[in-house]
Symmetry: D3
Subunit: 341 residues, 6 copies
């Protein structure tokens, strides 16, 4: 069987640490094109993976013969490039947040549907074992009714991760549109929807940009959410957690609690009202500190969906639902009112 061909658009950190090595280790795919506006970045990845280097994403998509396109660009380019790829008949794997507005997200979904191609958003946290196990426990009813939760994602900021360091597009509103909320918060919006198996209907939020110099985006946000079935909880995102990354989620239910990625030794700790406690060692979430996630499962899942015509776990609709929570948080901070979804 001939291999699928992929074009990776954008050669920054997310491409280097995750998309490219994951495609390279998937036996069903050939990396045929890499593209970056900075030519030497494109060249470097091209050499490493035996691909063609491009600086024009349109050429990379149309001329490379790619079947798949990974969009690894600043947020404001997610929609236009994904739509262009879909319109040219490509399956698209787009980084999160999938877009910067409702309209963009809807257009992306529509474009892929018209093309009859897959659209997947790279919410890798759904593939983390503790999140999957927690979803299973809750779905099985082992916690009974769910009452509340807190979920957070914070670290010291993208300076140490982005290929451009402190000059990264992450800090510029024009390109990023959203700061910590878009970088980190949208992950937790997606994962808490996934784990609880419910949709949120109401959002209130407060946002600040006080911790970073030379930045005009939010660097911290505190948000409260209410679900359709009356679960309330907090979702926070921060680039101002200066000591250690925190990617934890705690869920409070009728029959016990779940602590996910909240303990140095255990991925998941389930405690029940009958006095029992179960500690799961399921492998740690990979952090930027240890080189970033390069075996996230995202690419393998995307390739599998294309090869076997499956619906991606995080398709355009799913990515859009998670995005809407973040957009609502931004709106709530502006209007000082709760926003209904």
């Amino acid at each position: 069987m001939s291999k699928l061909k992929v074009a990776v658009i954008g050669c920054g950190s997310i491409a280097i640490h995750r998309h490219l090595p994951e495609y390279a280790s998937n036996d069903s795919v050939d990396i045929v094109a890499v593209c970056d506006i900075v030519e030497e970045r494109a060249q470097k990845s091209a050499e490493k993976y035996g691909a063609q280097a491009y600086t024009d994403y349109k050429q990379a998509i149309t001329e490379s013969g790619a079947d798949l396109v990974s969009v690894c660009l600043p947020n404001y380019l997610h929609a236009p490039v994904s739509i262009f790829a879909a319109e040219n008949g490509k399956h698209v794997l787009c980084e999160k947040p999938m877009a910067t507005s409702d309209e963009e997200a809807q257009q992306m979904i529509a474009a892929s549907e018209r093309a009859g191609k897959k659209l997947m958003v790279a919410h890798n946290q759904r593939f983390v074992a503790s999140h999957q196990k927690a979803r299973e426990i809750i779905a099985n009813g082992e916690l009974g009714n769910i009452y509340s939760f807190r979920t957070t994602f914070g670290h010291g900021g993208p300076e140490g991760w982005s290929i451009d360091g402190a000059n990264s597009w992450f800090f510029r509103k024009k390109e990023a549109f959203i700061g910590a909320l878009g970088d980190l918060g949208v992950h937790k919006a997606d994962v808490i929807r996934y784990v609880l198996g419910t949709e949120f209907v109401e959002v209130a939020s407060m946002i600040e940009s006080s911790a970073k110099e030379n930045s005009d985006v939010d660097d911290q946000a505190v948000t409260i959410l209410r679900s359709e079935n009356g679960v309330i909880g907090t979702l926070t995102a921060s680039w101002a957690y200066k000591r250690g990354e925190d990617n934890s989620t705690v869920i409070y239910g009728e029959k016990g609690n779940l602590r996910l990625e909240d303990d140095p030794d255990y991925s998941l700790i389930a405690t029940f009202t009958d006095g029992s406690r179960v500690n799961y060692e399921l492998g740690k979430i990979q952090t930027n500190d240890n080189g970033g996630q390069n075996s996230s499962g995202v690419v393998d899942h995307f390739v599998d969906c294309v090869l076997n015509d499956k619906q991606p776990l995080i398709d355009g609709e799913e990515g859009y639902k998670s995005l809407k929570i973040i957009l609502a948080a931004l709106e709530s901070n502006e209007t000082k009112k709760n926003v209904s979804l």
Copy 2:
């Protein structure tokens, strides 16, 4: 020197476990009166502490010769009894939340001022060593600018604490007015103001009453706060944390983090961006599980303020400021808007 005389109004759990033993172990005070509408409860405490038993609080206050009055009653009685005591020339120590409305709180303050007597609200968490040490670290500038926080107080509910168990006034809106927010949330509103040394100006909140049967008050609340100097954070209160009490506070600053009552071994963990970490073992917060706090420091401080004519650390104004945060949370939940303070 002759001893001060105190009348303790209400002989429920807070009186039994905290006020009465703390007065009894203070050498400057005699317990002269105890009062409860349930006569046998009054009798039992009267016998134990060699006091006179009353079932009418007015008699207890006016006929016992008391200098001090401790108000240990359901929330809706805090204001009327405190005001009555002040008007009869007594120094008043009132349980939290000090009142159930702005008007009540203001009247309490006014009554004590007119009488020239002390009014103190029993926010014992200010006397907890970890809270005091954290306040000192922040005031010293060791954390630099403060960015964010989360503070929570949750347990399985007052059923196991209240003298009336599941039939407690805690669950009846008419008497409690506020549920978990008034029982637990107001503690954290007070303590986060104290630790950060700042005032909050904006509150948003979502509240639910889903976890308790036979209750018409909130049993869980998630709240976000913004301070005058731009600190944002979450404050949550719950009677639906079914496994273990959580009374933790985490503070994120420019130079590090503080974790208060968030670790099984250490009362306070300070981590700094220079890589250092300081673990404080300062004695645990006493929990309902281990018999309740009976050496909270509240009574000793109150007595000291009366004896030496000092301003109580939590006087009426302080108690009122903490109350206003909770009242604003209730309002925000109703109006679905942020409430300014």
Copy 3:
């Protein structure tokens, strides 16, 4: 509803520490008769539980109006007393090992069947949470094929447990018939059948009586078993483990291992070939050291089966199958051949 009436025959340690308190705390039962050949023992329990004291078991069974009979006697009396009780129309809960020969066991089963009454054998280890969870994991196929196991039960001997200390019937072949194998080994024969969900077809054994003075029964036994589906493993029992009780079971499967009651902190540790590890804290097995098991679940289950006409989890057939393994071990030691079941 009127309560069930129970007669407890034998007032030694197993009655005192387990049967009597468990019946006493079950709201559906009245203890109407206690019987012991040593009159003062019967009197003592009679007083404690408000029952009638007997020294003749036949009277205790027939004259007390009991619906249920617990047989808490030396091994050689299990069969005759159980049969007598069944023949008099009683439901019988008999201690383990249920009998000392095939014939006895078969007669017990037949007697209860004829009477249309329940017969249950008190193999309490089936009610231990780690054993139940392990059975569930294996039944779900989470371990894949099972290859091997080791299960053991050993401690320093019944001297410290039996009401007669070093003079106990446990050490006299005439009354006990079997030593450590009957006291401890039969528990593990039962529990390994239960956990693996398979039956054993072949037994080889070596037995010694070297560790106890003034004893003519086995005080240690090492046994190997083969199941119908080719699982092989070791089952050992000992009264010569002088330091600490060992009640552990380890199961080796295609996809991982289970360690039951083999760790000081965790009741069950499941390790899988995918690298994950799950530690279960499910409450410890109660040991003789900490006063014996007095909330084993055995009595509650027995009463529930009688009240609701359910089949006991360990009915006569089940108890007999576990006994046969022990009898085969004794035979193998004698014949120096493997014994087929």
Copy 4:
């Protein structure tokens, strides 16, 4: 003094990881010949150690001028090559199991005796510090009478160790004759004889080959042993312990227990009936996981025996006694009877 010369016959894993580096680091020896039927393997080791490469073991032994011969071949070749070496006047260090039958073992011993040369079997576990310390404790009588033991050696199989991986001779009965019992079980037969200082007289065993595909040898065995002085215990060997190697031994005695290589932190834990406990950190047993044992002490001891005309700790007779236990286990599994030694 001129150095001894050694020829290493067989260049598989045991030669590469243990014999060759141990000879290389012994200052009294020169590696003069290496031999493997796969020429490139011989060449590779020859280059690394500056030796001559052979593909014919007879040439390697007779033409290299070697004084010593290490036999690192599949089991079925141990005897013929060892005998050939002895007949040609060489001291022989043979891997375990020394042979595949009584006759072979006896012939090996006889050949070396006739030649007046040393014969040593590479039972490295006797050189492990915990085994030596346990032997000393027992010999000193600190445990009093010994009652029982369990000893096991299991891991996931030789696939990851053998130079031929899943195609290794280890899985072929014609070449290996014995599987896990010969690879692992014979180690524990030897070490338990050594530690207890006693000989076994009776063996029963059950053996299965259910865990490996493409294998016709035993991959797991459970065995029970009785010693001349009435100690009974279990000896198990497995290639089906899928999670983690287990090389533990536990010994139960009158005055306490010894746990050898059974704890993640301590090589040996001695617990005594007087309540004391002694934890020995003596260096871990090296496992296949960490590259295999390459400082086992075996080669140094062999060289020392040759240089100073000492009797090897594991001479032919000792190796044979350990082998007989394994041969008896195989026989017992066939005959379903206990086998006397």
Copy 5:
């Protein structure tokens, strides 16, 4: 056999917590007399142990028919009462320090020798398991040559131990003669002689009385010692270690170190230059905090020596040698010179 009779002279803490209960639990002894100058103390112990109460030690010794006399008095009375007892034909067990001068010690020894009776000094630390094991390790040569040591005994002072609290004779030079050095230091002088198996020949010391009010004895001392075989080390004693008792000894030798009572978990940790480490859990030294040592082994040893005419482990000469070190320390502090022994 008729029992030995003992008179215990002095009914303070050492008698109450150690001598009396140890005699009471020794089957070969009857407590016939107890004596204290405070009559009610004598009465209280007399009642508890069924003895005769005395306030005059001479009567207690001569009129009670005692065979043995325990001297549990302030230091300045050790010699006169011991001598009186010996002169009246009694075996004497005297508390430490045995005397307050060379002359007294010599007279005590002479008196017992003339009487042909035993004299033992109650240096209980020789019976502590870690000290005995360390002595054995050193005597076996396992540490090779010994180079140095540090040994200390310090706590917060005798206020919490003495029956007279802060008014104790311990703080009065006239009665105690020596403070912390006599209370604690002499223990370590004795134990370090015992453990090392050597005698000291040179002492230098600095002493202070700065930590206690209302005391005219030393409350802390730092001392250096040189042994006949060139071992040098520090011996310190203190009543000014305000947080936790420290009773540790560390010994440095050619082949490793020993840490005695220096670790919260292990009584003795032996580390060797070969990399091994052995942790001994031998039971903790009992501290004043946990009620004092009441199973020290001292009384049992004394009784055994009398019954079987053995030489006490710490006879008068041994006690005197340990005392001389302390007397030399006092002298060195005065003269500011090293003192030779």
Copy 6:
């Protein structure tokens, strides 16, 4: 701004591991000259750091244009080379002990003063975080009055550190003058002065040279000190601590204790009489085992003092005061009398 130029005299371990890399990583300094009597050592460092190599220290100092001189030579050369450098107008950083006699030290101080240049002694332990924090705690009065201390510095000897191994000048009295006391003891003399903020007035000492062959200097010393304000304590130094380096200090005060570098996990543990305990993780003292200290802070401080004309924390007077304690210890060992300072 032009950079400072430094000449490093002596290219042994202290230069290689500390002075040279610290100068190299300081942006305000250029290493212009390196000097060693062994030419190849000078060459090697010259190449590594782009400096000029010298074998004559006078040339290195006068001809290189250096502003700064680091003296990294055997002890007996510290004074003459430092004086020569000062007389030639250089700022001097001299290794410890600064000299081998009072006269030398005084002349060094005088020479630098005459030249108007800085003289600093490289007592790096003052820069260790735990020492600084302890000094701060004591100075703040948090421990109240200080009563006593013990401070030690010991390891297995300089064999493994010195570039000459067992043939090092460290072992020759003519060049080292002092052994362990000068190598290690003077560090603790300096650091205990610094931490306590007091001066010592009296020293007694015992010294031995028993642990090293081929050495004529002290390899262990036990010393007692008394301060001007009555604090007494022990200071010990050793090259005979064969297992693990010990660089600990313990300080006993009125309100608690401090343990510095005495715990495997915490740099400093403060325990207070109010029951609280604070554990500081401040980074470990670097040991010879882990490559030596190469970020000691010494060079940065020296450079800062020169650049900004500050007084060095350890100037000549400070270094001299610490040296005097060691010289007094040597004298006390000779005279067997206390030496006053």
